[in-house]
């Protein structure tokens, strides 16, 4: 990852393999990280709103990390 000998940025169609490799061996849920990464790009693209993104993963993030401090929390969102 971030290999200075890598000549170019990872092509879009190879990104998922690279992201999977980055998360390999992590102490947390690899699949959740991959799904959230994919959807975070969709948020950037405008395909998904911050609020939708937050709500979609809130329960899983809470279960995995015991907290959800992401800045995407919509106003008035009930953490419980």
């Amino acid at each position: 990852m971030n290999n200075p000998q890598e000549p170019r940025l990872t092509p879009i169609d190879e990104w998922e393999d690279e992201a999977t490799a980055m998360l390999d061996g992590v102490d947390y849920d690899t699949d959740l990280g991959l799904r959230m990464a994919r959807d975070a790009i969709r948020v950037s693209n405008g395909e998904l709103s911050d609020a939708e993104f937050h709500e979609k993963y809130h329960e899983e993030v809470l279960a995995e990390f015991g907290e959800d401090e992401r800045p995407t929390k919509p106003e008035g969102f009930d953490d419980d």
Partner: protein, 276 residues
């Protein structure tokens, strides 16, 4: 409101790696890690052109372009959105930064970054010399780190190390929200691109390619906003801070002007060049 950004003129970039090395030194980046890389567009390997040498009197087709790459400090940063503990956050001035005390090393941010700009400290960071380099404390094992636009320097009114140490004047740093800033003028004047624009991240790093910009006379390592008159469109004769003309009579190669308030220059007052 201030919104810091960077312009990199790829036509001026000579691929010397000074930005990568000065970043590494200034920010105490561990051995084997790079926050700032100079990629190449051309052949299949780094620093390798595509095409071929001239043959039989032909002109040849060798082609290569440098692609300096680091954290793009995206407006819509996916890394910020996925961080479950809010360790990665966007400062009020637009710089995306990591709170290393909060980072739990889940690496979700690395997976979400389309620019592969982040590195993870798998082991206890190794520095050479052991006590480290530059003006930033070492980060511990198990956290993610990346370019900060040298926020410790920016907070003192200094340009990032990669900007100051670029011998080709290929890098310009400043306030994107200030229409009169040099970065804004470059973006307005030249055709600029952002990396992976289709992903909607709206990076604050803009690249000039196709037409070489005039560059900017490097009159000081202070940020442009702190200088009285720096204009890339002038012949440079007026690009001298007011204090410099009054106080700089030593002719030394270090800081060219006095520093006000608590701001401290990162260059020696006496002695030639160098940032550390």
């Amino acid at each position: 409101m201030t919104n810091y950004g960077l312009v990199i003129d790829q036509e001026r970039c000579i691929g010397c790696q000074a930005c990568a090395v000065s970043c590494k030194q200034e920010n105490n980046v561990p051995m084997g890690q790079f926050w700032n890389r100079v990629l190449t567009e051309g052949g299949d390997k780094i620093d390798t052109p595509s095409g071929g040498y001239p043959e039989d009197g032909g002109s040849g087709s060798l082609d290569m372009q440098y692609q300096p790459t680091a954290c793009q400090h995206c407006e819509n940063a996916p890394c910020v959105k996925v961080c479950p503990v809010n360790a990665t956050y966007t400062r009020d001035d637009g710089i995306v930064e990591i709170d290393y005390d909060k980072c739990i090393g889940c690496r979700y941010c690395m997976a979400a970054c389309p620019y592969n700009a982040r590195v993870f400290n798998w082991d206890e960071p190794d520095h050479m010399p052991e006590e480290g380099t530059g003006d930033v404390a070492a980060r511990p094992q198990g956290v993610v780190e990346k370019c900060t636009f040298c926020s410790h320097r920016v907070d003192e009114g200094l340009d990032p190390a990669c900007v100051v140490n670029c011998p080709a004047d290929a890098r310009i740093f400043g306030d994107l929200d200030d229409e009169g800033s040099t970065v804004s003028k470059y973006i307005n004047e030249y055709e600029t691109d952002q990396l992976l624009e289709d992903r909607g991240t709206n990076p604050k790093t803009h690249y000039i390619s196709g037409e070489m910009s005039p560059g900017r006379p490097q009159t000081s390592d202070k940020m442009e906003s702190e200088l009285d008159d720096v204009s890339p469109w002038s012949d440079g004769s007026e690009d001298v801070p007011a204090e410099a003309s009054e106080s700089d009579s030593s002719g030394s190669g270090g800081s060219h002007h006095s520093i006000e308030g608590d701001a401290a220059p990162h260059v020696p007052a006496v002695g030639s060049g160098g940032d550390d």
